[in-house]
């Protein structure tokens, strides 16, 4: 009897402790009510190319907030940086969709008062309250820009664009393939397999059960014998294509832009299977020492002008629909080129990065979570 009671109590304690993170995540501190005087300093964790002098310098002049940017090479690194030193080292992070939920449920970021972000109402509808940064109606970040992960290829080796991702799994290009050194790369293979082998029943490349994961890992292990190098930084991949060590690989438009500017014979394409992609969100640390400057920054970079500058520089698509006109003004034809005027069907065909979780989203609970993805990735790389 006593034992039974104890066991019940232990069970109850377990349930409470398990539900606690979610409860806290949804009921965190009150967001800022108005933007006050800037604190003079702003520390941020950002993707390479997200804090360019073109828009940082005018921001500093206008607000007096001096920007210190720390570049991160992966979403995992961003999460680790935001948690370093107790979480008050950085004010802001440009988190991609595979990091945002980890930051929200880890209580690392604070709710945002959208009434203070005037540009928000002009965002494309899918990016106003997306599931990866808005939990139960509470906004934990402001969407920024988005884009696809593309297939980059050497035009001397491929006179016409490859139509399938199969080329990066093809033994014909052994030793000349490069893909990102990032566990989320598993989703690229899952997307390819979902089309190539429908019997696996992969409906979402981020929701894989053990059987599906085993099939994906088998494909990636076979691929690893063909890989020249798993690139960690965009500049690594640029060097590999410049020197001719790699002729085909998975990339971001940023690499294509940089390589083409350097007259390297490369081009990019989105093959028929579709593509994974990223949608980035500016999030404010829960313990941000400079919240006013952080709000000022978010408002600065969501203006059509900076949205356009960022889009053209990185080769991605702005969240603010008003940026299209501005893009064409800065570089004629760029609005069309970077899909800033594309219909929402284009947005919907990209499988955006998100954090893999046990919850499969179809009522089942047997999917592999991100730590399992990380383990599998280490095994694939060997």
């Amino acid at each position: 009897m006593r034992d039974d009671f104890k066991r019940k109590l232990a069970k109850l304690a377990l349930y409470v402790s398990m539900s606690l993170p979610f409860a806290q995540g949804a009921a965190a501190a009150e967001p800022l009510q108005s933007i006050g005087q800037g604190e003079g300093v702003l520390n941020m964790v950002a993707w390479e190319g997200y804090a360019q002098p073109d828009w940082v310098k005018p921001f500093e002049a206008a607000t007096g907030c001096m920007v210190h940017a720390k570049y991160a090479g992966s979403s995992d690194e961003m999460v680790a940086l935001m948690r370093s030193g107790g979480g008050d080292q950085y004010d802001l992070v440009s988190a991609s969709g595979d990091a945002t939920l980890r930051l929200i449920y880890g209580h690392d970021v604070q709710p945002i008062n959208m009434a203070l972000i005037p540009a928000w109402k002009n965002f494309i509808p899918q990016l106003q309250s997306p599931a990866f940064n808005t939990v139960r109606g509470v906004h934990y970040g402001v969407s920024y820009e988005w884009g696809p992960n593309t297939l980059l290829y050497n035009t001397k080796v491929f006179p016409t664009a490859p139509t399938s991702w199969s080329v990066i799994y093809d033994p014909a290009y052994k030793g000349k393939i490069t893909v990102p050194d990032n566990p989320i790369q598993i989703a690229d293979a899952a997307l390819y397999l979902s089309k190539k082998d429908p019997s696996l029943g992969i409906t979402d490349p981020y929701e894989l059960n053990q059987t599906q994961m085993d099939a994906v890992v088998a494909l990636l292990k076979a691929q690893s014998k063909l890989i020249k190098k798993y690139w960690a930084l965009a500049s690594d991949e640029i060097q590999l294509f410049t020197s001719g060590d790699a002729v085909v690989g998975a990339a971001w438009p940023y690499q294509t832009n940089t390589l083409q500017a350097a007259k390297v014979p490369v081009a990019e394409t989105i093959p028929q299977e579709g593509a994974t992609g990223w949608a980035d969100t500016w999030m404010i640390s829960a313990k941000a020492p400079h919240p006013n400057c952080a709000y000022e920054w978010i408002n600065w970079v969501t203006t059509p002008k900076v949205q356009a500058e960022q889009a053209i520089y990185f080769g991605e698509t702005p969240a603010n629909t008003l940026a299209c006109k501005e893009m064409d003004k800065q570089q004629p034809g760029s609005c069309e080129q970077y899909h800033a005027n594309a219909p929402s069907s284009y947005f919907d065909q990209i499988k955006f990065w998100k954090t893999p979780r046990k919850d499969c989203g179809n009522g089942k609970d047997d999917c592999l979570d991100y730590s399992a993805w990380q383990r599998e990735w280490q095994i694939i790389k060997g």
Partner: protein, 292 residues
């Protein structure tokens, strides 16, 4: 009596106090920064991480060690690391001998100084600059392949591979082998070599039976550097390694800086600690510490 004099008298009358005064600060430094850090590492290796929030959970569990032993990839990575460290050490011994011998036994004083400078000069430039230079040399259209094509040979595909790592590591740590080997060659009295010749030994035989054993402590001392520096490196594998080139350090790096799984990183970092402890015990047996 001045204060200085008080101390010097005290130090003379009680030698223990003098020693304590001299060693106190370094000992504190050693205990606080080095031993405490290793202690923290060992303690953390038994902790775990909450998957969802990423918070550390203090406690005592063997989860990390179990995972290290049960997933074969971590054994492979450890063996790769130790294997390449050993290969680099042997390569450096072989490369260091002729240089050290020529420097000490054959060169005149001026040439000797010049050779010493040539060995040391690379250490003045940044480690990264040297690794990047090798990356350019070994790349597909790099210097090496250009030279091979010029003399009509096929391209070598060693850029971004374990071969590249072996070459680059051997280059990077060579000075650390040449210097102790040269020092130990210098300590061999020339009269012994003459005696060996007088007793009828040929050159190579003298080298093998007189010089090699006498210079062994120097070689082992150099091996401590080349082996431990390779064992702990993670930058070279990142820059010149290819697929499947991760070292223990890379797994530690990605678990700390990227995955935020510090306990797992700590558990894996215990391994090189153990390997080096064994290595140093053997080195002491072979008299390496007398040669330093």
């Amino acid at each position: 009596m001045s204060l200085n004099r008080t101390f010097s008298v005290l130090g003379w009358r009680r030698p223990g106090m003098a020693n304590a005064a001299l060693l106190g600060l370094p000992a504190l430094w050693f205990a606080a920064l080095y031993l405490a850090a290793i202690g923290a590492l060992l303690v953390t290796s038994f902790w775990t991480v909450d998957d969802l929030s990423g918070n550390l959970i203090p406690g005592f569990s063997f989860t990390n060690f179990q995972q290290l032993l049960s997933v074969p990839v971590y054994t492979h990575i450890a063996l790769r690391t130790i294997g390449i460290a050993a290969a680099v050490t042997i390569t450096d011994v072989i490369l260091a001998w002729p240089v050290a011998y020529a420097m000490i036994r054959l060169a005149g004083p001026r040439l000797r100084a010049a050779m010493m400078a040539a060995v040391m000069v690379p250490l003045w430039s940044s480690y990264l600059a040297r690794v990047y230079a090798w990356r350019l040399i070994l790349a597909h259209n790099g210097l090496l392949n250009w030279a091979l094509m010029e003399i009509g040979l096929p391209r070598a595909h060693i850029g971004y591979s374990n071969w590249a790592m072996w070459i680059v590591f051997s280059y990077l740590w060579l000075p650390f082998m040449i210097l102790p080997v040269a020092a130990s060659v210098e300590r061999i009295p020339p009269s012994l070599l003459e005696a060996s010749a007088d007793l009828g030994e040929r050159g190579f035989s003298t080298f093998r039976r007189v010089m090699l054993p006498m210079a062994l402590p120097g070689m082992v001392a150099g091996a401590i550097f080349t082996f431990s520096l390779t064992l702990g490196d993670y930058v070279t594998p990142m820059l010149v390694g290819g697929r499947g080139s991760d070292f223990i350090g890379n797994v530690v790096y990605s678990n700390v800086g990227v995955t935020n799984n510090i306990p797992f990183a700590a558990a894996y970092a215990v391994l090189p600690l153990g390997v080096m402890a064994v290595f140093l015990l053997i080195a002491r047996k072979l008299g390496a510490f007398d040669a330093l």
